[in-house]
Structures are given as structure tokens and as C-alpha cells.
């Protein structure tokens, strides 16, 4: 039978599409050590003009090696096969050098207008035909990274981060890869400050509010050990799905019965766009109408893409969550 194969594919896709991109292919990433260090000098050069004429601005930063891929000179034609990294590229100021993006890259608007590539059934040759000098991926459907390497195109495969620092680290890596380290560092600092601001006003109830974050109508969800879980943790919330994930995969599927027994205080629907789930349709599912969150009207629809990408909009995601949970402290 072909069911086990289907199961495997589906699991991969669920995890992939949900976390925006793959959390499954972590084995391909050997180490996270990077060489951002080389680039940090660029911004300070201007102040010490008397020192040895090492370089002028951006040229000094290259070559750069990130996650095993080396970029020799500043990339001028970038292909992003990950919606998250498309958002990061534009945020760090490298957007004008993006020539093609994957089908899910819909933000910012400029990215939606670039040439489109299907990152799930990736054709390496079609991407190579665009003559890119940097390819960013968050999911490798097969041997794409090896394929790009064979063609001499630097391709960086980013893992799904499991906390906020790992997400910020990727912003810096994208900055280093595109010669925009200063902007990337500024961005990380600004977002850290924004998060700190939100947390400063955060009420700290004795009992942390619990939540269930729905990825799709078959009750796939996230645990604390994912970037999404980290955002809720930043809002002082507790995940109900953690005991359901013995393997540590991060994206377990729950049963309705488990959900009823744990009875989370809040339900967040990150499948409102993909699957047309609304608080009303959620309540109509068998038995789920008996959840406290449904009875108390604490089922909150989210923008799927904002709630699944670890780009700069994660702070918008965090704000949506805290406004929903503490309307008096944060609402207008």
C-alpha cells in the first residue's frame, strides 16, 4: 500500500507549510556557526580613517560563509524560496536585488510581483536559468542544495528556529550574506526593544494563561519548542500541547479529546486563511463547543502568514496575541 509513504509526505508538508517551511529537514544542517564576525568591522571603519586602509564599506565583508555556503562577492541577483526569508531580505534593504521568490512570498507587496517559483516541487535548472548569485531556502524538497552547489550557486538552507534568538540570528545571517549587516543589526535591536516594551506592560497573573495554536483543522499544532511557541512564551503564555510531543518534533497532532481535557484558556486559529476556519466553524466541530475558550469567546483568528513566519512581522504576531489576551492593558 502507498499509505505509509503518503503519511510521510503529508507529515513533511504539514510541518513545512505550517511553520511556513520545513522543520523536518533539520538533519541537513550540520552546524550553526557562522562568520558574521568579519562583517562587523565595516560600520566602524568610517570613524577610524587613520587606520590601515583595509577596505571601503561593503567590499570588506566578503567572502561570507553561512551554514556551509560561501558567497564571494555581494550578491546582485537573489532568489528566495522561503516566504520568511523574502520578508527578511526586504526588511534588511536587499529587496531591490531579489529577482525571484516562492509561491508563498506575498509580503511585502513588491515581493509578490517578482518571478514566482514553486519551492515544493523545485526545479533547480529553472532557478539556475535566472542566473542567481544567492539562493535562500527553508525547505529542501530533495537534493536542491546539492544541486545548487554542483552548479556553483551558493544556496543557504535555513532551519526553522526554535526560539526568538535563533530567529534574530537568521536576520543577521541574511544581513551578512547580502552585505547589509548594519541594517540587519539595527532591525534586530529595534525589534528586541519593541518586544521589551510590550513585555514591560505585560500583566503577570499568578496562573499563566494557556493556549492552543491551531495549524490546520486536523488539530496539528505547535509546542513551546518552536519559534511560534517562543512568541507565546514572550507573551507569558503556556502551551497545552507540550505533553503530546514525546518525539520533540515540535508539531504534534492532537485529538479533540486531549484538547477538551487540557481545556486551554485561549484558542488561536492560524488556519483562518488557508482553510477558512472561523471561531464559529471551530465551535461547530464535534464536541469542541464545550471548550471553555469557546464558551467565553476566547477563540482568536490569526493571519496565517504573520503567525508562521519568523521575519520582522513576528512582533505584529506578538502584539495581536497580547491585545487578545489583555485587552485592557493593550487595547486602545
Amino acid at each position: 500500500m502507498r499509505r505509509p509513504l503518503l503519511a510521510l509526505i503529508a507529515l513533511t508538508l504539514v510541518a513545512a507549510a505550517c511553520g511556513d517551511d520545513a522543520a523536518t529537514t533539520t538533519t541537513t544542517v550540520a552546524t550553526t556557526t557562522t562568520t558574521v564576525a568579519a562583517t562587523t568591522t565595516t560600520t566602524t571603519v568610517a570613524e577610524t580613517t587613520t587606520s590601515a586602509p583595509t577596505t571601503t564599506t561593503t567590499v570588506a565583508a566578503f567572502p561570507v560563509t553561512v551554514l556551509g555556503a560561501t558567497v564571494e562577492t555581494e550578491p546582485q541577483a537573489i532568489v528566495s524560496l522561503s516566504a520568511t526569508h523574502t520578508e527578511i531580505l526586504y526588511a534588511v534593504g536587499a529587496g531591490d536585488r531579489v529577482v525571484a521568490t516562492d509561491l508563498f512570498s506575498d509580503f511585502p507587496a513588491a515581493a509578490a510581483d517578482t518571478e514566482k517559483i514553486d519551492s515544493f516541487s523545485l526545479n533547480v535548472e529553472a532557478v539556475a536559468d535566472l542566473d542567481p548569485d544567492l539562493v535562500l531556502l527553508a525547505f529542501d524538497p530533495g537534493d536542491a542544495v546539492d544541486g545548487f552547489a554542483a552548479l556553483g550557486i551558493p544556496a543557504v538552507l535555513f532551519p526553522a528556529p526554535t526560539d526568538l534568538d535563533a530567529a534574530f540570528e537568521q536576520w543577521l545571517q541574511v544581513g551578512a550574506l547580502t552585505g547589509t549587516t548594519a541594517t540587519a543589526e539595527g532591525l534586530v535591536e529595534a525589534v528586541r526593544a519593541e518586544i521589551a516594551d510590550i513585555q514591560a506592560d505585560l500583566p503577570r497573573p499568578d496562573q499563566a494563561p494557556t493556549y492552543y495554536h491551531e495549524l490546520d483543522p486536523t488539530l496539528f499544532t505547535v509546542t513551546s519548542e518552536t519559534f511560534v511557541g517562543a512568541v507565546y512564551a514572550a507573551a507569558g503564555m503556556e502551551n497545552v500541547a507540550d505533553p503530546a510531543d514525546e518525539s520533540g518534533f515540535g508539531y504534534p497532532q492532537l485529538s479533540a479529546e486531549f484538547l477538551l481535557e487540557t481545556d486551554p484558556d485561549y484558542v488561536f486559529l492560524a488556519d483562518s486563511l488557508c482553510c477558512d476556519v472561523t471561531p464559529a466553524s471551530f465551535a461547530e466541530r464535534p464536541a469542541l463547543g464545550a471548550l471553555t475558550a469557546v464558551e467565553e469567546g476566547r477563540v482568536i483568528p490569526l493571519d496565517d502568514s504573520v503567525a508562521s513566519r519568523w521575519g520582522p512581522r513576528l512582533v505584529d504576531f506578538l502584539r495581536t496575541v497580547v491585545v487578545a489576551v489583555y485587552p485592557t492593558a493593550f487595547g486602545e
Partner: protein, 346 residues
Amino acid sequence: MTTGGGVRRVPVVAVVATTGALVAAAAAGILIGPASLDPGPVLLEVLDRLPLVSVDSGLTTREAAIVWELRVPRVALGLLVGAVLAAAGGAYQGVFRNPLADPYLLGVAAGAGFGATIAIVSAGSTAALVPIAAFAGALGAVALTYALGGVGGGGRTGATLLLAGVAVAAFFTAAQTFLQQQNADTVRQVFAWILGRLSTAGWSEVRLLLPYAVLSIAVVLLHRRLLDVLAVGEEEAESLGVRASRVRLVVVLAATIGTAAAVAVSGLIGFVGIVVPHTIRLLWGSSYRVIIPISALAGAAFLVLADLVARTVLSPAEIPIGVVTAFVGGPFFAVVLRRSSRGWAL
């Protein structure tokens, strides 16, 4: 049609054993789950829901919902799907005189998958249209198989139908894959659908399936004597005055309608249609007067049990039920095959 004579030939032990297994499986399915509820109140709650009975189970609203909105419909759906698939599998094996025949043989699965994909792509996975589209796709695929099987002009023999089924299934699978590729954003929902949905099922699915399940099993049951006649060979059956092609059409139609409805509400659940009828055949003989009714009972018990395993082994996570049916069914079947002194007779 006189079928009364056949009933007595069903071994009593077979009826008792399978009925007992079914009752035990259903009770376990209702009593056991990730939420730890005491057996007493759970049984009282089920009793309370029966007509004319009113008792206080002492369960909270939430616990009562777990029992009546989740566990009971799930057991009911597993029972119906298992019975339909096992009876349909037995019927297909009889009609085609082929031990490898299963309910998905003539393209039901591929057709249902294609229909569901069209509906999901155009209307979203929550649309009420999805099971209807899957049902229509399944019937359409089998109709195409039937039409294609007669193209050769040599009449629809079992062999030409099987080959046509292979071609149609391949075609619909390819069409579905293409459609999916063109709509990558819905790929998740399509796979979730294919993987089976017993886990999210409620009473609405049971209501959808019930009429088709009853119709399908009843028609197949009424033809069980004719299946025995067909088993001696097509020409021999004709010489006995049985029109093989007509019997085949009716039985295949009935089995297909049941299977299509089962697939439409529960996704693809493999192996039940093969392992259950063969196990019954090996245990209690190769007469379809025994195989069809006992397979339906055993299939119901088997699927309810498989579902119980699927949702308890890794609790609170769940394993797709098709994995369990194949994983548990395969070795069990091997043991039955080995123990059987009757050998392989069809």
C-alpha cells in the same frame, strides 16, 4: 431470490465470536481515550442518550461531550466503515475470483481523491461539498472503468475490468497530482483528507454514510448465493443459468457505492477489505454465504479496534488508522494463513 436456506449454514461459532468481538471492541472504544473518565459514568452517559432512558451520569458538560460527540460517533463510524469495506472486499474477491481484489480495485480511491481535490481546491476543505465530490469522483471512476472494460468488444470479463481499473486509477491519480501541484497552497488539506478523517469525525459523517452502508451491505448479502455460483467459473455459471455479467454489475455497483461513501467520509483506509474476508475464508470456509455476513461483522470489530490502537498507543498523539490496519492486520493474517490447514482455495 431465496436466501433463507443459506443462513443456517453460517457456523454459530463464527457469529458468536465476531459479534462478541464487535461488542467488546465498541465498549473499549467508548470507555478508553486520552481523557481519563471512569467507566461507570461513561456507560451511564451513553445509556442516558438512548431513547426513553434518563439517568444522571454525573459527567460535566465537557466530559459528556467527549463521550457523546467524540467517542460514540467515532466508534459508530469505524464500525460502519469496517463493515462496508470488509463486505465490499469479499464481494470484489468473489466477483473477480481474484484473491488480491480489494474495494479500491476499480479506481474508487483515485476517483474519490480526484473529486475531493477538486472540491478542496475550489471551495476549501471545510466545504460540505467535499464528501459529495469525493463520492461522485469515486462513482465516476468506476463507471469509466466499466465503460473502458467493455471497449475491447470481447465482453467485460473479470480480467479486462481489472486492467481497466488499473488504467483509470493511474489516470485519476495523475490528474489529482497535477491539480495539487497547480494549487500548492491547498496541498496540506488534500493530504489531510487522503490520510483519513476518523479522528475528526462526528455524527454528521455517520449520518452521511449510514444509508449507503446499509444499502451496499444489504445488496451484497442478497447476492451471496450467486457469488458462490460465480466462484465455479464464468462459463459454468452461465450454464447454470446465472448471468455472470449481470450479477457482477449489480454486486460491483453495490460494493462501490458503499466503498465510495466510506472513503468520502473517512479517507483511504487500506487492508481491511483484503485481510478480513481472507481471514474469515481461512477460518470458516470459502462459501460466500459465510464470508459476506461474517466479514461485515469482523470488519466492523477490526476497524473499531484498529482505531482504538491508533489513538491510544502514542496517546495523546494519534497514528493514521491505515498504518494500524496494515501493521496489525499483516502479521495477524500471516498467522492465520500458516495455521490454516485448508490451504489456499478460492
